[in-house]
Amino acid sequence: MSQTPATSSKPAAWRTTVVRVTGGVEFWTIPVAILLAFIVGGVLMVVAGVNPFDAYAALVNGAFGTTQHVADTLIEATPLALIGVGIALCFRGGIFNVGAEGQFLLGGMAAALVGQALGTAPSIVTLLGMAIAAMIAGAAWAGIAALLKVYLGASETLTTIMLTYVATYLVSYLLNGPAKDPASPLAQTAPLTSSGLLPALLPGTTLHVGIILAVVVAIAAHLFLRRRVGGFQLIATGLNPVAARSAGLPVRRIFISVFLASGALAGLAGMVQVAGVQGKMIVNLSPGYGYTAIVVALLGRSSPLGALFAALFFGALSAGGASMETSVGVPASLVTIVQYLTVLLVIAYTAFRTLRRPSRTAEGEE
């Protein structure tokens, strides 16, 4: 049997911590972490001279106050959920795909190009073509990192980050060059025709059908992990790749497959933003979805349904945060602090527990 050079026999401490966050953390820690993060956020608001109760009221109103605000929350949650589910699957397999940002951008780019090429086709054909192209583009980009890891032992944490830079510049080149809309000085493609736009879900709002896609994908991934042999194999590989290989599992194929799946989902998220929100590919398509989704996957304890709920939570914070800024004047960046603090607290708690109680996993560390 061939060797898999990528997987060293002893997992690094941080890997152990992340894998434990995925399964080992009690559910109550997450609401507590959220509460603590909100309290810290409130203190920061007091320092900034804003009444935190007014600000949080504006936040809740901005996330759920009107139909359009609920739509904003769901729209913002959609790309986070799609990417987050893919990253959660990777985490479960012990893979750290942190390059979803690049896979997302290439997915959006591919979707826009196909959408233009099929601009006169019926909507269903155009949208399917866009979705397939976006998934292929995302999967191909993730596949580079997968092959580098499996056959050359390159750390996927490094390669996926580096590939994101390449993707960002590639997209920027295309949007400033061959794919640029000649009618606009901005780095963007020409607007899609109506057959390349996702249908509205809720008339009178900007909500598009992408959220249905995200829910279906999360449920499918959940059932896969719970009900399929492949899901069990993925989890077993993540917990201990050496043992998994000894037991005869095709570890390489599992790694490559889960990488491709997460890349495809990130690409699909790019298509959803292009076809559902912007109506064209723009150079700043992502306000950091690919990175925020890593945090979403962690907060969702690397379970697909958990990632879906974490994405809805982050979507609400993001939509509410924008409204908090427009109505009370609290900088929206404060919401980002609350978002990341929540996850930091969950990780800190887990790391603290891991260190305090030397367990069989801790013994294996250098």
């Binding site: 949208l127 000085p185 109506s194 249908p199 509205a200 042999v229 491709l260 924008a322």
Partner: protein, 345 residues
């Protein structure tokens, strides 16, 4: 044992296809093509208790485009007695949502202070016909969308004269963001001004491809200095840092940027958009607002040269005299700065 992950991939793929198909067949597809009507809008109902909102693509403290807009909105609000709100660091991806938020919260005058917010503004404006939108430096308007520009090309002409006159061999540089009509006009006027003072002047230019990327602007500035540029026009944040590092002079833009390089920044072409915003706010209040393009330049006192902070000595006296004469001619209307927005390489 056979590995079944591919089955899961198939499930995810089929799920995606099914839900898309279902959605397509049930929901009505919306057409989001934006209309760009140019007909002049009819008189509007006067607005009591005016609330103004401004949406900014960068921070309110950038000593540049965003700060000028933010401070002008505050000044306009103070002068007409209106409440002013702002959102800063709004990315293009989120612009539409932020503009819609302000509109749905009842702001009657919404200023989208970035060229890249033009499409988002037109989209939201269709949903809120009673709200007045002002799209900064944009080119298309609608019945409730007006535009305003920054005619700093008039000041750029003077800057070009100063730069080419100060450079010992007439080689000067110009660093900016993206080829928008506004910035192209600035570049062409700067070139014309440089040629006005020295017919053999060479003007280098760079578009860094982003509205806010200081490291990239610095890099572009250094590259121009290496090619011989002795004075740079800083049309985007970061250029002055490059001029300091490369020991060249710079001419600031939009605000008095001398403090960024006291020995480097000769002067700045300042832009004060507050008279414009104040007039718009008044027009919205009394119902006389129309959807035209508002443009306030040197004549209206919105564009001018900042203090030289002791660096007058670096500019040859005859050059300075010619520049000030030109400025006076622009003011009294006897000289018109050429306006050219053709694209460049």
């Amino acid at each position: 044992m056979k590995f079944r992950l591919r089955h899961a991939l198939a499930v995810v793929g089929i799920a995606a296809v099914v839900s898309l198909t279902a959605a397509c067949s049930t929901a009505v597809s919306t057409d989001s093509a934006t209309s760009t009507g140019t007909a002049t809008s009819a008189a509007r109902t006067p607005v009591k208790d005016l609330k103004i909102a401004i949406v900014l693509s960068g921070p309110t403290t950038d000593h540049d485009f965003n700060q000028v807009g933010y401070e002008a909105a505050e000044a306009a609000g103070k002068s007409v007695g209106a409440k002013v709100a702002f959102a800063e660091n709004v990315s293009d991806a989120n612009a539409e949502r932020t503009i819609r938020n302000f509109a749905s919260e009842g702001y009657q005058l919404i200023i989208a202070h970035s060229f890249s917010f033009g499409d988002a503004t037109l989209k939201v404006a269709k949903e809120f016909p009673d709200t007045v939108f002002m799209a900064g430096t944009a080119t298309s308007n609608a019945s409730n969308v007006g535009t305003y520009d920054n005619p700093d090309y008039q000041g750029a002409y003077l800057a070009g004269m100063l730069a080419a006159g100060t450079s010992t061999d007439g080689t000067v540089g110009w660093v900016s963001a993206i080829q928008t009509p506004n910035l192209l006009a600035n570049l062409h006027a700067y070139e014309a001004g440089a040629k006005d003072i020295n017919a053999k002047a060479t003007v280098l230019h760079s578009f860094i491809g982003s509205f806010y990327d200081p490291p990239k602007a610095k890099e572009a500035a250094l590259a121009q200095i290496q090619k011989g540029a002795q004075v740079l026009s800083a049309q985007t944040v970061g250029t002055i840092d490059g001029a300091i590092a490369g020991k060249a002079y710079a001419i600031g833009a939009l605000t008095d940027q001398n403090f960024l390089g006291p020995q480097t920044v000769l002067t700045s072409v300042t832009w004060d958009v507050s008279p414009l915003f104040t007039d718009i706010a008044k027009a919205v209040q009394d119902g006389s607002w129309t959807n035209k393009n508002y443009s306030y330049g040197i004549k209206e006192g919105s564009i001018g040269l900042a203090d030289f902070h002791g660096l007058e000595s670096k500019v040859p006296a005859d050059v300075m005299k010619t520049v000030l004469e030109r400025e006076a001619q622009i003011k009294d209307g006897s000289f018109t700065v050429p306006y050219d927005v053709s694209t460049v390489d």
